[in-house]
Symmetry: C2
Subunit: 327 residues, 2 copies
């Protein structure tokens, strides 16, 4: 009911709508409407109430409210089911549990705060409350397990595009899974899957974005940044989430429906901060120093080693002078 | 406590041990010993009790008792933690939940009956109570996700060897994941994993073995068999489980510790029922008719197509005249 009240208020934003109209339209009592309005106010929605005139939505808070996002994403393929937490250990972990219990493609898990957020290889990822986006999307693509890296590429392209659209900041992609602004990391992506040998049960793609974080701990301050730090103003997390879902959905279904990854690859190449540079690639115990020369049509990185050998790599931890993975 | 009582009885099988001895050795009261003996009797252990002489274990039931297996596998690397169910939907599903909660490598899930057992691609697998083995092993190998198929090969080799050792029956392997006796399927293997792009979180390898099943439904009777049907006698499921764990553990740690898959490949080649034959391979929507010519050092199948092209495949649904996948 709260969602329906909010939906009507949003459609009439900055205009009054009477309690009676709301009550008629939604088929519930005016007392019930009044209760929902109060809950919305508590959540931070600024709603003016004047007797005889009714209710007017003046301002929406920057919370990642489930109801609000369900309204905003109702015409999308993704985000028809949203789980929102004030705090959680890790949205990817929760997504895995949902997926194991049968959650459908497009289910989204969001949390205002993550207490046990993870980057790749189980590393910690800090997601303080109120200032970051911790989001995981459950996908059930009919692709082979060795294609899962493409989902990381799609996500990187989508997040970079969405950030640029919302903030006008120039975003870079440090292949395969980091978004960079002014040589510092603003977003990390963690793709995990459950698979049989030849088929994927589900993919969880998680992203942690530093949005309105003011300060970072000393040890990461020189490698991490936030949108607010770069822009000197707060950014609406809700607007960013909506834009990410929109961008992601375009690139993802392009790939799923036609097998075509070209738009994603185009964005990843254009925004790449490593192409043409000498990079260090760490994969388990192997370290390779090589020149990053291209990203191929499958999203794989093509590198040229010192001895002239040219090879493809599908993933790895990359560092390049001035731009390092952090934590 | 029940486990400790059983352990002493097993060590003194067919000999009497007095309640006082048991009580002293285990540091509990004789009443407490008596209670545990009664529970064991209820589970099916035949224990003679004669006053002044004490207790004598005469016969062990063919149940996949957790306590019993913990005793039998106490010197093994795998099986130090065992979950046993009278009935469960799927041991692989339960294994996934345990792994998500941090279960260690070697944790084993067993069920007397599976109500929602699955073969590959979500197909049903029948595991009636009392007559089959439904077992899943949780592994945490430090290998790449594209190597997970090797775990299937190791399991196939281990199960085929164990069945042959216990029953003296000739076992065949229908690459990659079926064990065959006299052209009929007696065991299926389902390997599932949770992974990041470049590293495995965990692998669950599940196996369903038709041990003492008397009859199969008509629709699978011509493609499925059980050890009892082939041998005309009952086989101890417990003995088989112990042998499988022993065989598996040898081949698995050979591979994990040294990267050497050669013993596994040797067994899979020697027991192969498809090498040298024309086979049909179905992968998603692709169907290939080709001759199976070899299994390479990575456990991949090498096939030769009609046009002479030779390719490697890592998995797929194989059928060969007279031997079909069932269900």
């Amino acid at each position: 009911m709260k969602k329906e009240v909010l939906e009507v208020l949003k459609k009439n934003k900055n205009n009054f709508i009477s309690g009676e109209q709301l009550s008629n339209r939604l088929g519930v009592t005016r007392t019930s409407i009044w209760k929902q309005i109060n809950i919305l106010k508590e959540e931070g929605y600024k709603i003016e109430s004047i007797s005889r005139k009714g209710y007017k939505l003046i301002e929406e808070p920057d919370i990642l409210s489930r109801d609000d996002l369900l309204i905003e994403l109702q015409n999308n393929k993704l985000g028809n089911d949203i789980y929102y937490f004030k705090t959680i250990d890790s949205t990817n972990n929760y997504g895995k549990k949902l997926a194991l219990d049968g959650a459908l493609e497009g289910t989204i898990v969001l949390s205002d705060e993550q207490t046990g957020g993870r980057g790749r290889l189980g590393r910690a990822w800090v997601s303080p409350p109120g200032t970051s986006i911790s989001m995981s999307i459950i996908l059930r693509p009919t692709i082979y397990p060795n294609e899962a890296a493409k989902i990381t590429e799609i996500t990187a392209a989508a997040v970079a595009n969405a950030i640029s659209r919302v903030t006008k900041l120039k975003t870079g992609i440090k292949w395969p899974n980091d978004i960079i602004i002014n040589s510092k990391k603003v977003c990390g992506i963690l793709t995990e899957m459950s698979a049989e040998i030849n088929s994927i049960n589900y993919v969880i793609v998680g992203m942690g974005i530093n949005v309105n974080i003011n300060e970072f701990p000393d040890e990461i301050n020189n490698v991490a940044t936030s949108l607010k730090k770069e822009l000197n103003m707060e950014i609406s997390r809700k607007e960013l989430v909506i834009n990410i879902v929109n961008e992601f959905e375009k690139l993802y279904y392009d790939f799923i429906n036609t097998g075509d990854l070209s738009k994603t690859v185009e964005i990843c190449k254009e925004k790449s901060v490593i192409l043409g540079k000498m990079i260090k690639i760490i994969n388990r115990n192997e370290i390779i120093i090589a020149k990053a020369i291209d990203i191929d049509e499958n999203g794989e990185l093509i590198i040229k080693k010192d001895d002239g050998e040219i090879i493809n790599i599908i993933s790895g931890e990359i560092s390049v002078r001035g731009i390092n993975s952090y934590i």
